[in-house]
């Protein structure tokens, strides 16, 4: 397999013909194994060799969890108004447009309702491909509305986090989304409506420091980066290398921050058991 190690497109010999196989093979980020894309997909985008959980889109996530992959989407058209008229290297408005055309979404989250093993559930799944899954006004509003719907119809809430934290381009407004969502979670808690937080790679910053850590159950996929401060910021602050495995799911489980680490393959089962316990 040495010829695969080059970053170039792998070439396969088919009799006397050579075929370029761009896009058909994927290199595992962790074990560097070259995997046939179809094999990876049939394994829920988990490396068959080392169990590395590849990032997946919010849509794929919902399709994996809901019965028959069916769900009803809420608050689909909500989008940011660029309240600060923010411009860094490029204008935020342009960034949003670009993101919309690459992901098909208006912001970094899909809010959906459907069934898991026949039980009703509301799932908010974050989309990491949309400005690093960052949380601005739209993410805050969609999650809060989902919580308020759950309060009303007593559906259990599941939030699947995948985010670099609060969105800088909406400034302090993004920070306030943390208070907005957690305020709604306090009401959900009081009403004894269950909330399950599922953390995936990565879950950091203001997302972790608000709703992601407040589940009745906090669970994570294996190997996910989960923390308050990013590893780079910590390294720069303390001026030393971080130990390996630091801020990964296994580290958090060891330090008592998680109820469980759950393989993507077992996620639906796990959620079903939890919903059973909660009385659904």
């Amino acid at each position: 397999m040495t010829w695969f190690k080059k970053e170039k497109t792998p070439i396969i010999q088919l009799g006397d013909r050579t075929v370029r196989t761009e896009g058909l093979w994927i290199k595992c980020e962790r074990c560097k194994q070259i995997i046939w894309k179809k094999d990876l997909e049939s394994n829920l985008n988990v490396c068959p060799a080392c169990n590395f959980h590849f990032k997946i889109s919010a849509k794929e996530r919902l399709e994996q969890l809901f019965d028959r992959g069916e769900f009803r989407e809420y608050d689909k058209g909500l989008h940011s108004t660029d309240p600060l008229h923010f411009v860094d290297k490029k204008p935020y408005k342009g960034r949003l447009k670009e993101m919309h055309s690459t992901t098909g979404l208006w912001d970094a989250i899909i809010s959906a309702e459907g069934k898991i093993s026949g039980k009703p559930a509301s799932i908010c799944a974050m989309e990491v491909a949309f400005i690093s899954g960052s949380m601005g006004s739209v993410v805050g509003e969609k999650i809060t509305r989902a919580i308020e719907r759950c309060l009303k119809n007593k559906f259990p809430l599941i939030i699947i986090s995948c985010s670099g934290g609060a969105r800088m381009q909406e400034g302090t407004l993004s920070l306030m989304q943390m208070a907005k969502i957690t305020g709604a979670l306090a009401r959900l808690d009081e009403a004894r409506v269950p909330y399950i937080s599922v953390m995936t790679d990565p879950t950091t910053g203001g997302v972790t420091a608000s709703f992601a850590m407040l589940g009745d159950l906090n669970m994570a996929e294996p190997g996910a980066l989960i923390g308050f401060a990013g590893p780079r910021v910590i390294e720069q602050t303390i001026r030393q290398k971080l130990p390996s495995g630091f801020q990964r799911s296994e580290f958090l489980l060891e330090h008592g921050m998680l109820d469980a680490i759950v393989h993507r393959r077992e996620m639906r089962d796990y959620l079903t058991k939890a919903l059973d316990f909660f009385g659904y």
Binding site: D88, M168, M213, F228
Partner: protein, 332 residues
């Protein structure tokens, strides 16, 4: 103090301020007569007017420098100058006492209360002891313990915020910095006593918000409140920490900006030239605002207080929907 590079007309005015100060000093050294006295009076008036103009035109970056001024009154100073009978309470009952977060019982114009906040240190030894005002999880847990104490005995809570942020370190992550802040946000949302939060200097992100969920949120004139430090923002979005000044402009983090979009309830004015020039006066101005706020909040029944605390944050956001624009607290 240095207020950053001289690039604008406030810079030119600042040069004139320096010149005037020199002239006043020189004339003062002359043998006094009617003529010099008149000159002095004229120059002093001009100086006062110019100072006012300079400070009214400070850039966001210059304001941030003021919020970090080494002589700025720190939270302990505000506690000492505003509250009476302060008794410090220590520890989170779980791991340790965090000197970056202080608090205790006190009276506020005769009324028993809990007061707490982040504390920076003034000299090197104190700075290290206070961890540069950056709390660890145990700091946030101590703060919540004190707030629950206030709730149990129906006492109002005053929080003071002056922190660059929650500490990003190995131990902080191990002990759940994120969980500690998240828990505070949720519990503050439903604490059954009035909470008044005041950002006195730096309002650094989640570390500030972790004690900042209040019925009223005030900011001192030259304080800032941001989702990320301008330096951090510049490093990530501009890939260049030197662009902090640009980031400070873009983030809209001054007290006036945040009042305009409804994220803070009021801006508390500072003494001419900044809070560091007169701690006592700065504290008096804060005191007056807090008195008014507490009187208002005490008149509100608990259930209604919690409702309006909820909607205070619930309405924050700027969003467009296919069926119209949903804008809160912001210019359309």
């Amino acid at each position: 103090m240095r207020l950053g590079p001289v690039t604008d007309d406030t810079g030119i005015q600042r040069e004139e301020v320096n010149l005037l100060e020199k002239q006043i000093e020189e004339i003062s050294r002359l043998i006094p007569n009617a003529h010099t006295a008149m000159d002095l009076e004229r120059l002093r008036k001009r100086l006062e007017k110019l100072r006012k103009e300079v400070f009214s035109k400070l850039t966001p970056w210059q304001r941030i420098q003021l919020s970090r001024h080494p002589q700025r009154p720190y939270v302990q100073d505000f506690i000492d100058l505003i509250f009476q009978n302060y008794v410090e309470l220590h520890g989170d009952r779980r791991f340790k006492d965090d000197p970056a977060m202080i608090g205790g019982m006190a009276t506020f114009h005769g009324e028993p209360c809990i007061v707490l906040g982040t504390q920076k240190g003034r000299d090197t030894k104190q700075k290290l002891h206070r961890n540069f005002g950056m709390p660890q999880p145990e700091g946030y847990r101590k703060a919540m313990r004190l707030m629950k104490l206030a709730e149990k005995f129906s006492r109002p809570v005053f929080t003071f915020i002056d922190t660059a942020g929650a500490y990003p370190g190995i131990g902080a992550e191990e002990r759940g910095q994120a969980e500690a802040i998240a828990y505070n946000l949720r519990e503050m949302a439903r604490l059954t006593v009035p909470i008044i939060a005041t950002i006195t200097g730096e309002g650094g992100s989640g570390g500030a918000l972790g004690i900042g969920v209040g019925d009223r949120v005030f900011m001192l004139e030259y304080a800032y409140y941001s989702v990320i430090s301008p330096e951090g923002c510049a490093a990530i979005l501009w890939k260049d920490q030197e662009k902090a000044e640009e980031a400070a402009n873009a983030l809209k983090i001054t007290s006036q900006d945040l009042k305009a979009i409804g994220l803070v309830d009021d801006v508390i004015p500072e003494p001419e030239g900044g809070a560091h020039t007169d701690h006592k006066l700065a504290a008096t101005l804060v005191d007056q605002r807090l008195q008014r706020a507490l009187a208002e909040l005490k008149a509100i029944p608990v259930q209604k207080l919690l409702e309006s605390r909820y909607s205070r944050f619930r309405l924050m956001g700027c969003i467009a929907e296919s069926n119209g624009t949903f804008q809160t607290g912001s210019e359309a």
